[in-house]
């Protein structure tokens, strides 16, 4: 699966509020379901999502079993300087996914 879709405006004015939208492919298995034979399906979810802007953490989210598959997370920040927005999702079974996007601020 294509892992993540990220939408960040490529250019912004200094001080402008920008919206960041992220969508990641993940089953978000709750751990409460069972197979047809009654065996427990182990939990497999994303636990945390972190966004850093030039190394500074600007957004963090904790995810829980009630969140649907393929979590969509949107938030906003203030465009302060040109640089990189880095995104990291970590979860059960050693799941870890990173993406980064460049932004130009003028």
């Amino acid at each position: 699966m294509a892992s993540a879709l990220i939408n960040v405006p490529p250019r912004a004015k200094r001080g402008e509020i920008i919206e960041i939208k992220t969508l990641i492919s993940h089953p978000m298995e709750t751990g409460y379901r069972r197979t047809q034979l009654g065996g427990a399906i182990p939990r497999d979810i994303i636990r945390t999502f972190v966004c850093t802007y030039n190394g500074t953490e600007i957004f963090r989210a904790e995810l829980h079993p009630a969140i649907a598959a393929n979590p969509f997370i949107a938030f906003s920040t203030v465009a302060t300087e040109s640089g990189t927005l880095a995104f990291q999702w970590t979860g059960d079974r050693g799941f870890s996914e990173t993406e980064s996007v460049a932004i130009t601020v003028d």
């Binding site: 699966m1 294509a2 879709l5 990220i6 939408n7 939208k21 969508l23 492919s25 089953p27 978000m28 649907a68 598959a69 393929n70 969509f72 949107a74």
Partner: protein
């Protein structure tokens, strides 16, 4: 005389062409926004995956889809909107999923992909995406007419323990509620689509099988002639409506 009266009453419930509405129109504003924004539409995850599969060499022939078909944006535009389409070798209409697998087996010398597998959904989603906005136009001629008639017969046939036919909900009672859900007109304008209930992308046949289970009928197998014919009839019934894959539905 009696026959004429019966025929007239049987078709009374059909939805006039101008009053047809996509399931999109019956959704909440939030779900519509999700479909409209490519960065919020989870179906796009499959489309991106399909794009990489399109360009990947596979099978004993070692060829990628792109080597024969080129740029999908141009060569595949409108293709999903005219399937199921007649296949001369098989002597019957085939769905987009079957067409992909025929190409894999005959040309790429690769094993067919399983129905509802990630790869098949990804490829069909990528193909269907190229037809967004194209009016649905399945070819009805002498060769496909018998299959269209068979699909129509399935649509109007009462089935299952609840003894319901498709038209009893989707022609006669669309727009009303079945439990908490609005009954749509059942126009397959956006398949394969992301269904929030499934938390995944799925094909039209998955949806049809779900409906059959709902009326407590035994669902036909994936790829069964009955499902393909029904798919053909539904696409004909939605003729001219714009294609919107990958759609999002509740």
């Amino acid at each position: 005389m009696c026959v004429v009266v019966l025929a007239a009453s049987a078709s009374a419930g059909e939805i006039p062409l101008t009053e047809r509405r996509s399931g999109y129109d019956l959704m909440s504003r939030e779900t519509r926004a999700m479909q409209d924004d490519d960065t919020a539409n989870p179906g796009m995850l499959w489309v991106l995956e399909g794009e990489s599969l399109w360009n990947k060499k596979t099978g004993d022939a070692g060829r990628a889809c792109a080597e024969c078909h080129g740029e999908a944006r141009a060569s595949m535009k409108g293709v999903a909107a005219r399937h199921p389409a007649f296949d001369a070798a098989r002597g019957r209409p085939v769905t987009l999923e079957q067409r992909v697998n025929l190409c894999r087996v005959d040309r790429q010398k690769a094993p067919p992909l399983a129905y509802e597998s990630k790869e098949l959904l990804a490829l069909t989603a990528y193909l269907a995406r190229q037809s967004r906005g194209v009016p649905i136009d399945v070819a009805i001629d002498q060769r496909t007419q018998p299959f269209l008639d068979a699909g129509r017969a399935t649509f109007y046939r009462r089935q299952g323990q609840l003894n319901l036919a498709c038209n009893q909900c989707h022609d006669d009672n669309w727009g009303r509620r079945l439990a908490g859900n609005v009954v749509p007109q059942a126009h397959p304008t956006g398949y394969p689509l992301y269904r929030l209930e499934w938390q995944s992308l799925g094909s039209l046949q998955r949806r049809l099988r779900g409906c059959l289970t709902g009326i407590r009928a035994e669902p036909y197998e994936y790829g069964a002639a009955e499902l393909v014919d029904l798919e053909l009839f539904l696409m004909w019934r939605a003729r001219g409506m714009p294609f919107e894959a990958p759609a999002v539905r509740p």
